[in-house]
Symmetry: C2
Subunit: 241 residues, 2 copies
Amino acid sequence: MHEHGRYGAPVADLPSRAVPEAAVARLAVYLRVLTSMIEQGVTTMSSEELAGAAGVNSATLRKDLSYVGSSGTRGVGYDTARLVENIERLLGLTRHHSVAVVGIGNLGHALANYRGFPDRGFPVTALFDVDEDLVGIPVGGLPVDHIDSIPAVCIERAVTIGVICTPSAAAQPACDLLVAGGVRCILNFAPVVLQVPDDVEVSRVDLAVELQILSFHAARRFCGDEASPVAGPVSGIVVGR
Amino acid sequence: MHEHGRYGAPVADLPSRAVPEAAVARLAVYLRVLTSMIEQGVTTMSSEELAGAAGVNSATLRKDLSYVGSSGTRGVGYDTARLVENIERLLGLTRHHSVAVVGIGNLGHALANYRGFPDRGFPVTALFDVDEDLVGIPVGGLPVDHIDSIPAVCIERAVTIGVICTPSAAAQPACDLLVAGGVRCILNFAPVVLQVPDDVEVSRVDLAVELQILSFHAARRFCGDEASPVAGPVSGIVVGR
DNA sequence: GCGACTTTGTTCCTGCGTTCACAAACGGCT
DNA sequence: AGCCGTTTGTGAACGCAGGAACAAAGTCGC
């Protein structure tokens, strides 16, 4: 989805160019493609190749890469290893970010065991649930703590990212506890809009909303009757956000 | 919209206004907020109230709602029940969409059991995995089928949305099988860019990418050193996507 | 060493989406 | 019935992101 909710910006025009939100999201995708290519032994890629693999326009890709600094060689392409290095630096991936998961239900369980997190520099270092029966039980090798201990544990383990997988009603309290624990970045899977201080960043992933968006496209596609066709291209591949 | 018929012949209503992609995503959020409010007995809301609850600008909200047709009363606000009805019609939620989940690992398991899907009109009617040991085992009350049977089963059960939770390498084959089974909407959790025909819609949710975006903001926030500040304001709430 | 080809990095432009601002419409009150 | 406050719906401006086109720069072949 896209990022919205940008409000009037005094614009801190500090040193280098500002990086558009959308570009940050794409850079993360390039990173994914690049590491996959490096594993296959690819040492050099042109913008055309990389753009194709990432599903974006090559001009857009080059512009995105210009934000990370010049890493390419004209007439040749980009050195994959150096590009990965530069993107990781821009995205702040040089240091690991400790992750806490709140709400150890089906989804929380899955995330606690999800390889993709530690594999990409996001070690899960704390699990929380309100259920006393779960407290102490190890999930994915890590014992579950009670949500009351969120602030203390988050500070102690230097948690920088909190993931909320609780039911809707519990999401805001969980969020407040994370904020009290110094967490300033939150990934929210609960279908509610969290209220947070201005210095806290919330990214929401609502699985049902994703399905509803697909439903809209399905409706427009099959029963082309009724109202409103979708704006934008009729073309196929749409990569989320 | 709504033919003010200034010049007798209002614009052909057939292709009524195109709905921007971003608006569709927001409408799904409004729907979520509205159903929650209705449960609390709220029968009327102003654009200001609803916008606040959804975390968007009120003008944006009104424009979004204009795509679904006039449901508001000036001086009063919107009738929550009728608004829900209209949004559901626009999003194609009047008919249920049968969902198939491919890859019954941690995440697939969680999604198969996820209440939010059936509760919102997306019954999960098929599960698939490549692991013979899983085939036949019921997960969330539904037995797992082998991926080879994807095309036949999808056609038989009229699956309209496929959810891919397989490892990266298995995602493209799984996608191809779904497409062969007539599925035209795919939600992809695997960290790869799927290649599909033009008439297939793919929405990708990459959990690690979400964390990387948060990492970027964390890096900009805490160690304001190095390069590039983020575009836009330093201000707070950013609702993903 | 020189020319031609390839590819990057950037500039300009177009189009879309968000926001502002205002007129029309509606309910309530006197 | 008429006025007044409120809120919708929309027309217009602003800002930003994406795409095309081009110049600089570097490599490869001869």
